[in-house]
């Protein structure tokens, strides 16, 4: 019996509207037809109305989860165009906030995937731990999800060196709890039954389909935009977290690994951070075109900025990681079980408001 099950746009497992028409034979999904545009606002076109400095606020609100990195990538792109030398301290602060947002995003994802396979208490505990990270973020930036701390030419707020070391120490304590949580995800038999061997994507397939971020790294391809050494990543010692299996379990393992990696990067930042100014005065107007690439929790984000020497940019194009990860998601969903649909949708860590902008 073939039935078409509408999955979304309003669906309890996904807080965001993605719509999939699942063609189902009993409990097996034989075809998936996505339709998007439920969140399309057309904000890239807003560059024509907002000036390039004000637009940071819009860029931050492309997505409420990777908000800071969106703002930072935008600033990074404009700064490169305008040849602005951002003070090193600002670079380090940006790195710290990027990694804090990576921790909170990955904890959020762990909660959501737990919810997708029906493990309510694991969801609750993941989000309980996430709140502690949000407290750090709020104390340092003033916002819980929209940081608002990045600006062209630097950052808006400073974190004192002592506070930064305290944050690093706090995170080290939290890491003990992350370990307990990670143990459940990686070793619990009921969880493993839902993740192992589900949605396998081989390395060459992942590359061919253009997947990015943890999705790509879980298929054994060590690609991480942080290796481009934007912000302060040039002075940080780290290596991309990878896994070989390419299934949902591997993606889960990569993200858990990255939480610990982020804790470590923040520790390094707290030790290496130089003194000095946190911003410089911005004069002049941007001109030219530039592709800014950074690593979000979900993968590589691309900002194409084209400016013509006026206050308004000529074109801003944002290619977000989820957009790149949709084709591989469709690929792994064909032939899966209906019960695995939420798990597979979530393994790409979808962020629809990014995708549709």
């Amino acid at each position: 019996m073939r039935t078409i099950i509408p999955f979304g746009p309003q669906h309890p497992v996904l807080p965001e509207p993605i719509h999939l028409d699942l063609v189902v034979e009993d409990e097996t999904v034989v075809d998936v037809i996505p339709s998007i545009g439920f969140i399309h606002r057309g904000l890239e076109k807003l560059v024509e109305k907002k000036d390039f400095q004000e637009f940071v606020y819009v860029a931050e609100r492309i997505c409420g989860i990777c908000s800071f990195i969106h703002g930072m990538t935008y600033c990074h792109g404009v700064e490169q165009l305008m040849k602005i030398e951002v003070p090193p301290r600002a670079h380090y602060l940006r790195t710290v906030w990027s990694e804090l947002s990576r921790i909170h995003s990955h904890l959020l994802w762990l909660g959501l995937i737990a919810d997708a396979f029906g493990f309510e208490s694991l969801f609750m505990h993941s989000w309980r731990l996430r709140e502690k990270v949000l407290d750090i973020i709020e104390a340092t930036t003033g916002g819980r999800v929209i940081f608002g701390s990045c600006k062209i030419g630097g950052v808006r707020r400073d974190i004192e060196n002592g506070t930064l070391r305290e944050i690093a120490a706090k995170l080290r304590d939290y890491a003990v709890e992350y370990k307990d949580l990670g143990n459940v995800f990686l070793n619990d038999l009921t969880v493993k039954r839902r993740l192992c061997g589900v949605g396998v994507l081989s390395g060459p397939d992942a590359l061919g389909l253009g997947s990015v971020g943890p999705m790509l790294r879980a298929s054994g391809v060590a690609q991480d935009m942080r290796l481009l050494k934007y912000a302060a990543y040039g002075g940080i010692d780290f290596a991309p977290v990878t896994a070989e299996e390419g299934d949902s379990y591997a993606r889960c393992a990569v993200r858990i690994g990255e939480i610990f990696q982020s804790v470590e990067i923040i520790r390094q930042c707290s030790e290496k951070i130089p003194g000095g100014a946190i911003e410089i005065k911005v004069t002049g107007l941007p001109e030219g075109e530039f592709y800014a690439r950074t690593e979000q929790p979900r993968g590589e984000v691309i900002y194409y900025i084209k400016a013509n020497g006026t206050k308004n940019l000529e074109r801003l194009r944002v290619r977000t990681p989820t957009f790149a990860n949709i084709p591989p998601m469709l690929k792994i969903m064909t032939g899966c079980q209906l019960a695995d649909v939420p798990v597979l949708v979530l393994t790409i860590d979808p962020c629809i408001s990014c995708t549709e902008r």
Binding site: T3, I4, I5, P6, F7, H11, P12, V13, D26, E27, A114, D115, A116, F117, G118, F119, E120, S121, L122, M124, H125, R128, D188, T190, V191, R193, R194, Q337, L338, A339, D340, V341, P342
Partner: protein
């Protein structure tokens, strides 16, 4: 065991069941690091539901739900009145069939899949439930619950440890607890939305909720039967089992239907049938 217990059951099972559900939600919340709702929350919910509009896809839906409730009360009634255990098992199954029928009438893909999964669940737990009846008969030589519960004999659990454990396994399915909350669950985040209850609103949903309370009290009664004739001990153990189920609910991911069906059958074959075999050989 007589009409008195029957009246007590019909009148107080929803109270006890609702209270258990309230305690369940509070303990679950605490396990999740939350404060949790008031103990009386399930009652507030049901009162609220009866204050809502009843939107139905087909009018027969509500009729089926009323049958579901009526048969559940009947099933529990004959159990607590001490009647025939066989009748209890079969009318319990009939009651559940009405829920499935009501869900099919909802004609939405989610409730249809929910109904399908409910049938799979019935398929999963039914063999073990049958072994339960056979085992109890072999140990007590009667189907009459009143006789089983009141006659002086060694506690049934001494003969039926395998069946007891097997019954606990399928009890997780019957109580709609994780890992076997396939057709619907108390934590609504599921790929099939609310599954079997998706298409019910207001008063109908309230009736389903009350029926589940009746059902839970009946199921706990069936657990306590293992400890007959010491029924107080039985009741205590049944409560402990309920707590254990809450723990299991919070410590497992949801399984797929294949695992649910096959593992239940394996459990039934090994623990249930093994126990019966042992009784036949050595009993």
């Amino acid at each position: 065991m007589d009409t008195l217990t029957l009246i007590l059951y019909v009148a107080f099972a929803p109270l006890l069941g609702g209270l258990l559900a309230g305690v369940d939600r509070r303990i679950t919340a605490r396990m999740q690091g939350r404060f949790g709702p008031p103990i009386l929350q399930p009652f507030y919910d049901v009162v609220k539901l009866f204050n809502k509009e009843n939107l139905v896809v087909r009018r027969s839906q509500t009729v089926y739900i009323i049958f579901f409730l009526a048969f559940m009360v009947f099933t529990g009634g004959i159990f607590y009145a001490g009647e025939d255990l066989l009748l209890v098992i079969f009318s319990l199954m009939l009651a559940n069939t009405f829920l499935v029928l009501a869900a099919y009438k909802g004609s939405s893909p989610y409730s249809a899949i929910g109904a399908e999964r409910e049938l799979l669940q019935i398929m999963a737990y039914e063999p073990m439930v049958l072994f339960y009846v056979v085992g109890i008969y072999m140990a007590s030589k009667t189907f009459y619950i009143e006789t089983i519960a009141t006659t002086q004999h060694p506690m049934l659990i001494r003969f039926l440890p395998g069946i007891f454990l097997g019954f606990l396994y399928v009890l997780t399915i019957k109580l709609r607890k994780s890992p076997f909350d396939l057709s619907t669950s108390h934590h609504g985040h599921q790929e099939i939305v609310k599954g079997i209850t998706t298409e019910f609103t207001g008063p109908s949903l309230g009736l389903i909720e009350i029926t589940h309370w009746y059902e839970n009290v009946l199921l706990l009664g069936m657990v306590s039967l293992f400890f007959a004739p010491n029924l107080w001990l039985g009741a205590g153990v049944a409560l402990a089992i309920y707590l254990l189920e809450i723990f299991i609910d919070n410590a497992c991911a949801r399984a797929r239907w294949q695992f649910t069906v096959f593992s239940s059958w394996v459990v039934a074959a090994v623990l249930g049938f093994g126990n019966i075999l042992a009784l036949t050989l050595f009993g």
